[in-house]
């Protein structure tokens, strides 16, 4: 029997919500083509309802993730780097350049390291004029919506997710609309990386269809987006007028996503923490 007759098993890609792989409730898919035009994958076209389910899962999971020790959060991010390294070949097959994959892995490692350090950089003790201990500590903002840029579908996504996770937030991310396959593969990395269910939720779909629904819900506390045009940015900014969402849009293009000085900095975490100042009397 000739081996050429064996039919390969194709993977069915689904969304990643609450640690599981559900199909989109919309029942709609988009086709990813190879260079020769052949269909290589059918991906879910996430709907507003999928987004809502993902936000609900992220809300439920957030406080537990925040409560994990900083050391533990760092190890989970490092585990994501380990799993991504092991899956490099699949991301190559999905069209990512080798350098994009290695940089994405290193970015996860960078934020794995920040998890138990950024509070010392961003927080401080305050010398008030009175008999009080006074200190300011960063705390997670909550549920963060991530909209990844079209270009650099793996590196862009991870650059936006890692600083958010590092600070104890949960994430609902819409991957690159133009190249969604790496997002679907990254879901498998998350599923095998000890990330608690619901802490990372990944959607594939079209940014134009979903962006307003990221901006409006009151149960999304912040937005981290890249690759936005002026109108997209305005749409997201309007979310602040809804429930005072913290909206951060990165205006990086192409190779700028490789600049570690920016993208590995704790100032990317700063946008997704709230500063809490505690006053405690000294014995007098």
């Amino acid at each position: 029997m000739s081996s050429s007759e064996r039919l390969p098993i194709l993977k069915t890609f689904k969304l990643f919500i609450n640690g599981a792989f559900p199909r989109t409730e919309s029942g709609r898919t988009m086709i990813v083509n190879a260079a020769d035009g052949a269909a290589i994958a059918h991906l879910c076209l996430a709907s507003r309802k999928d987004l809502r389910n993902a936000v609900a899962a992220a809300r439920t999971a957030q406080s537990g993730w925040q409560k994990r020790s900083a050391y533990n959060k760092g190890q989970v991010l490092y585990r994501m780097a380990e799993m991504l390294e092991g899956k490099s070949a699949e991301f190559l097959g999905a069209g990512c350049e080798p350098i994009e994959i290695t940089e994405a892995i290193d970015r996860l490692v960078a934020f794995a390291g920040w998890a138990d350090k950024y509070p010392q950089i961003l927080g401080c003790a305050n010398p008030v004029a009175g008999p009080f201990h006074n200190f300011t500590i960063p705390e997670a903002t909550g549920v963060v919506g991530v909209i990844a840029p079209d270009e650099l579908p793996l590196l862009g996504l991870i650059s936006l997710i890692a600083p958010v996770l590092c600070a104890g937030n949960s994430v609902v991310a819409l991957g690159s609309s133009a190249q969604p396959l790496p997002t679907a593969l990254f879901a498998e990395v998350c599923a095998t990386s000890d990330v608690p269910a619901g802490v990372v939720n990944l959607l594939t779909g079209q940014v134009y269809a979903l962006i307003a629904h990221f901006a409006s819900p009151r149960d999304v506390d912040a937005i981290h987006a890249g690759g936005c045009n002026t109108e997209d940015t305005r749409t997201l900014d309007m979310g602040a007028a809804e429930n005072l969402k913290r909206v951060t849009v990165r205006d990086l293009v192409a190779d700028q996503w490789y600049q570690r000085r920016d993208c590995h900095s704790p100032y990317w975490i700063e946008s997704f923490v709230e500063m809490k100042t505690l006053w405690h009397p000294l014995a007098t």
């Binding site: 300011t136 429930n243 500063m275 006053w279 009397p281």
Partner: protein, 494 residues
């Protein structure tokens, strides 16, 4: 603290005739001009709009002065002055920039009494508060930020900083001079220029601050002050040549400003409303806790964004806390704000008094029990609300959810620390919280889970220029004070 000594163990205070203290009004004369112009490019000028308003003393309803209302053209001129002054101010050696702020702090300290009286006359707050809190803290804010001017390179490690540019700053009427200081001091220290709009009911101390800016020879245009109402504020915030909008006020207006700024690239910081929980656990030191509650809600007539307006008391001590609170409130003196003995002054405006009275009516209609223990008659003229609290408030009641911004406390109870936490966080706001307990682990367990930007442990309503202030959730974003407050006035460059 024994928890079963709920009644009769605490004797009522009987002052007899000794309670009739002599009035001790502050008598230092303060000159107030009949008319004030806009402070633009270092000089006072009449408004191009030709419009004026009158500011009154809310304790007497007497007119204090007429002031200009800035229209679009006036705001335009102020922003242009700030833009023109920006390059030279930015290029000034940082040490010199700081010296202007040091000078300003010192001059404010020298003129503190005059400022305190003026603040009390224009806004209605007790002189002991303007004298001991508003004015000294304003001076401290300038002194603190003066020292940052030449140290900004150390504030954000591994980053170069640059000023944001022209800052539009809109402030409320509850701490008129102090809010002006909170806004102007960090902006100037970071090398920005400013257009400030004070509130329409309390413009006088900001205008007097403008006189001090002339005295200390601050370069023209670095700070411009435009007076007026909401339209002036909107014109300023929406001005296309403004790089940053800083606003302190209501959440409703804050959202409008956020919508207006959407897509413009303007930097925005918002310090908005609150309905802050004030929690007393059964093991708290009650003498101190009651003082904290008084300080938390009746300070400045409750016109405080972080007022501890939701008192959450553990059920086992509820009766005792209510009794002690009532007793303590009987000694609160309400009246002439210029009297040094006055604890609670006048409500800032007729409009605010109406809002407060409406909430009190709604509170009663929804079934909560109103208690107004303070003694003595309220003055016949002026705007007055006796400090009061509501018993039997349910979390769904309007007075448990909405900001009243007056001397009205809503008392709720809880059984377990978990329930206290759940109730505390049951609000779209997240500005501040207070916790009273003698047990450290309980304190920090709650403090770390309450969603609030400021948590006062066994204390309340403490402020300091070195301590960041600002909210979680719909209480706004950005911090004021401390190193974190600088962040709102700087762009970071790699």
């Amino acid at each position: 603290m024994s928890t079963n000594s709920t009644n009769s163990s605490t004797p009522a205070l009987d002052f007899g005739q000794k309670w009739k203290l002599d009035a001790a009004p502050e008598t230092t004369p303060v000159q107030i001009a009949d008319e004030y112009g806009l402070f633009i490019n270092g000089d006072f000028r009449a408004a191009l709009s030709g419009q004026t308003m009158v500011t009154i003393n809310p304790a007497t309803e007497e007119a204090l002065a007429q002031f200009a209302v800035a229209g679009l053209a006036d705001v335009d001129a102020a922003v242009a002055a700030a833009r023109k002054a920006l390059p030279a101010w930015q290029q000034l050696p940082a040490v010199e920039r700081g010296k202007y702020l040091y000078r300003l702090a010192r001059r404010l300290q020298e003129r503190a009494r005059e400022f305190a009286i003026l603040e009390t006359m224009d806004g209605g707050k007790p002189i002991k508060e303007s004298r001991d809190v508003d004015i000294p803290e304003a001076a401290k804010h300038f002194f603190y930020h003066a020292g940052w001017a030449d140290k900004l390179d150390y504030a954000f490690p591994n980053r170069q900083v640059e000023p944001v540019g022209v800052c539009a700053q809109i402030i409320p009427w509850n701490f008129p001079l102090l809010m002006a200081a909170w806004k102007i001091a960090p902006a100037l220290a970071c090398g920005n220029t400013v257009v400030l709009k004070p509130a329409e009911t309390t413009p006088l101390t900001a205008l007097r601050l403008a006189e001090v800016l002339q005295e200390i020879k601050l370069p023209a245009g670095v700070v411009n002050i435009v007076t007026g109402g909401g339209e002036t504020g909107a014109a300023l915030a929406n001005h296309p040549d403004v790089n940053k909008v800083a606003f302190t006020g209501s959440t409703e207006v804050g959202k409008t400003l956020a919508a207006a700024a959407a897509g413009t690239g303007k930097k925005l910081t918002l310090e908005l409303g609150g309905k802050s929980p004030h929690i007393i656990m059964e093991d708290a030191c009650l003498d101190q806790a009651i003082e904290g509650v008084i300080q938390g809600i009746y300070f400045n007539q409750g016109h405080v964004c972080c007022a501890g307006s939701r008192l959450l008391v553990q059920e086992s001590i509820l009766a005792e806390v209510m009794q002690r609170l009532e007793l303590r409130m009987k000694t609160l003196r309400v009246g002439n704000p210029l009297d040094k003995n006055t604890d609670v002054g006048a409500i800032n405006s007729a409009a605010q008094l109406q809002i407060i009275q409406d909430y009190i009516r709604v509170g009663q209609e929804e079934g909560a029990e109103l208690c107004t223990p303070t003694q003595g008659e309220l003055p016949e003229v002026g705007f007055w609300q006796a400090p009061c609290f509501f018993k039997g408030v349910q979390p769904v009641h309007t007075i448990a959810r909405e900001e009243i911004f007056g001397p009205v406390l809503s008392v709720l109870s809880f059984r377990t620390p978990e329930e206290a936490l759940q109730r505390a966080n049951q609000s779209p706001y997240g500005l501040a919280a207070g916790i009273w307990t003698d047990k450290g682990s309980k304190m920090f367990s709650l403090a770390s889970r309450i969603k609030a930007g400021v948590v006062w442990c066994n204390s309340y309503n403490r402020f300091d220029a070195a301590s960041p202030f600002g909210g979680f959730k719909q209480s706004g974003f950005g911090r004021e004070g401390g190193r974190h407050g600088l962040r709102a006035y700087l762009n970071l460059k790699s």
